[in-house]
Subunit: 102 residues, 5 copies
């Protein structure tokens, strides 16, 4: 499995390693604002535990519709993603290969 | 083969590994809006199966004419690209080398 | 430990390797403006010794809310981060793996 | 040889591996608009053969004066670069090392 | 030594490998406009010999205060940096590790 992509919808908590085929070290490289008419900012937030979070990107409709990222996660990092705002954020990336294999 | 480049035209589905010389792990790094006068946004969409897609980039004529990407695909990922909008998107990138060879 | 993220608050000096689990070579890849209403610029500054500093990024509220970075630090670099301005900066990144392990 | 840089002037075709010391896999990472007063867009175009080309970046004077790229070329790719527009484009990058050596 | 950072002041020529601890292959990843009130553009220029130069980035006060780069230099490249304009440019990056060591 090379490519990885998910949609983080508002008011949902998303775990990046949810799919059974999601294994290894994940690199997330792009965030795109999902469809919708709200002009409100959408912020991607990453919780490393229930009380502690850090912002990963800010998307502003019609101004910053996409944002390149460079983030890597291990399966045991136990992070969750959520969106602050009313539009979804589409994330894409890929699983890193070990020693040139995928 | 190092360099890789294709044009994704509106209303066409494009498979990244179409050419016989397209082998190995492909890294796509840039999207550029093709020529045209429409000022409508062009969105690059990636289908991982017929019902499930994720947005990969959004280009806005005269505002965001290009977008850097970092995406990797294996031949067995079976993805297809298409454009939402009326202008084409030019994609470029390269095939990753195994152990320093191309 | 893969993912790394901290908040650099105004008037605080932050050491990147403060947590006991923070070990190895750290790669910082994203800076995001924290919440707040001030429209003043926030500049991330890195001190390599008490008299010598270099700017690492400039964030402007509602214009440049995020900035991608590519910085690497060793534990013995002994740098400290601080913010010029009145809003915090959220930094994220990851620890580099040795030989494919995390 | 690490660093690589050339200027692609309007109405000229440029071959990236022209210099005798230009050997190995070349990575191009930045495009900058050259000096001049024309406000016309400058597009960097890459020909993989005389009839087939793809856009690599679009620069707009006073709006997008520079653009980061991530492109890799092998000597046997036989590509040529040209500019659509009336200002030159300065390209920079470096030769990739084999196995950690430069 | 991991982190590397310098300030390129107007009318000064700067050699990237000036410090005795500056050894190995240097990767420069970020340029930031230094403090000042001039609204004039600042261009980072790289001389590969006294007559030949290429632009590496263009910074525009209050519009493009920072620019990400990806440039690599070997000690024997013998390049010098200078700024066209009246404000300084802060450069940051790091020394590449050989085989996972720093």
């Amino acid at each position: 499995m090379g490519f990885w992509g998910i949609e983080v919808k508002p008011k949902k908590k998303v775990v990046p390693f949810a799919s059974p085929s999601a294994q290894g070290r994940l690199r997330i490289t792009q965030a795109i604002l999902g469809p919708g008419s709200s002009t409100e900012k959408a912020i991607l937030q990453c919780f490393t535990n229930p009380e502690r979070s850090v912002y990963l990107c800010v998307l502003t409709p019609d101004k910053t519709d996409s944002c390149s990222l460079e983030l890597e996660f291990d399966e045991d990092d136990n992070v969750t993603f959520s969106v602050i705002g009313s539009r979804s954020i589409h994330l894409s990336g890929y699983f890193l290969t070990d020693d040139g294999e995928s």
